[in-house]
Point group: C2
Chain length 310, copies 2
Amino acid sequence: MKGGLVVALSGGVGGAKLALGLSRVLPAQELLIVANTGDDFEHLGLSISPDIDTLSYVLAGLDNPVTGWGRRDETWSFMETIGALGGADWFRLGDRDLALHVERTRRLKAGETLSQVTADLSRRLGTATRVLPMSDDRVRTRVRSDSGWIDFQDYFVRQQCRPIVRELAFDGADKARAQPDIIAALKGGKVRAVVICPSNPFISIEPILAVPGMREAIAACGAPVVAVSPIVGGRAVKGPTAKMMQELGLVVSSASVAKRYRDLLTGYIVDEADAEGIPGKVHIASTLMTTLAEKEALARTVLTFADTLA
Amino acid sequence: MKGGLVVALSGGVGGAKLALGLSRVLPAQELLIVANTGDDFEHLGLSISPDIDTLSYVLAGLDNPVTGWGRRDETWSFMETIGALGGADWFRLGDRDLALHVERTRRLKAGETLSQVTADLSRRLGTATRVLPMSDDRVRTRVRSDSGWIDFQDYFVRQQCRPIVRELAFDGADKARAQPDIIAALKGGKVRAVVICPSNPFISIEPILAVPGMREAIAACGAPVVAVSPIVGGRAVKGPTAKMMQELGLVVSSASVAKRYRDLLTGYIVDEADAEGIPGKVHIASTLMTTLAEKEALARTVLTFADTLA
């Protein structure tokens, strides 16, 4: 395979699978993961960045194979106790996971940027892969349901995605500054491909693209932009993507996802059953990444396909 | 025994033994524990109140019999991880203990007083005994050693009491407002006794007495003021009391402790070996409280002695 920088946009669990695959088939200096921070929030006085953390844990091999989120070898004494003390226990924070939030919160308050803290903590967790937040400024995804606007984690975790989604907003995105190293990398002329990971388009990828200058820099970087559909066989592999699409009046299909990215995409990778009705260059592959080998295989497929589009 | 309110001044571990004894021989409404907050501090973004916590855990039967501090049935995943992430791990915070600090910090930031938070969290931990901070305002014990002034927990925990103590100061004490329920109780005319628990006089009891109005209210309450010496056989049972006395140029003896409280004391309880040279009413008792029975026995002794002085 040829060299150059691969820039991958990702949310949490779904996107992290492909990010892990990419990290295993590329040298560390040839991969940059751009993480969604729209679902970051403040909870129990802590600054929590769920997508950055999922990416960091997955890339470091520290993700929890049982829960699908959080850290492996986790203990839950803190959570048990905070519940007994009358504190909020709807967002599950393991004892080890908590250390990451406490240390990040302390360093942010001391004046470091989220990028700096993320770079250092990811390294200490044991991954060489670069993960950068889309912005060091505050962007907060909000959900309008029939009972009004609510915070994303309220919708996603506390209410378990039960409210019907009528509209999404990314508070602060219009004033956020794109993380400068991402923009510099996109403008550096050495980008091999931009990969949109199989994340939820509405709550994982669109917040990234909503940061001023991000979409433009991707479109202008001169490299192929390849998305992997999060829809397999007309259903979302995980999470509320399909439910959200229905509620927003869209057909649940890979084609609908492609339309969200339309003018940005050079190529699109969809599962066997989902190719119909998609304009442009489509590559069909098995996108359900269960094993590590499947993650690596899809990563290679994405890169090979992107290289043919260059 | 007669009724009335017993007000007990206490620091952490040593004082908490007698506080526990008192809580077991008195109805809950007849006991008020006044806790030192001079060794409170902010650490990892959390508001930590070591003496209040030790008292709450001991009174609720949740104290750790192995370490002598913190909670029983504790786990240490957070501490292990924060060290690996480059965070400060010199102050040992167990996973369960941490929940108390996180919840207190959140509630203080939301505008509750330390008294309110302490009352509610103590109740939730399972004790009916009232523990009140000496003040809801910030008081911070500082230690002057040969290398300058340092924060108390830096001296006490991080440097393990190694620096030579030349002077102590209680920053903020001069402007702190005594916790109003304590003053109201002392002025209410129903105090049976004020008990000064066998805590370190310099760093546990004197910060309490340094809060404006506290010493005066105790002196004026009309009830006997009885201290239990923290010195047994010319040595401190625990902690840096003896080392600190030597460094401050004092003889290590129960008499030296009595001199710190002199005009306040009605009576003094010392161990068999320490009675010499103490002015005023002295009662000799076994003050080394190892078992629960010994804690209850000393509590009864203190109350009976106080009643004879009334």
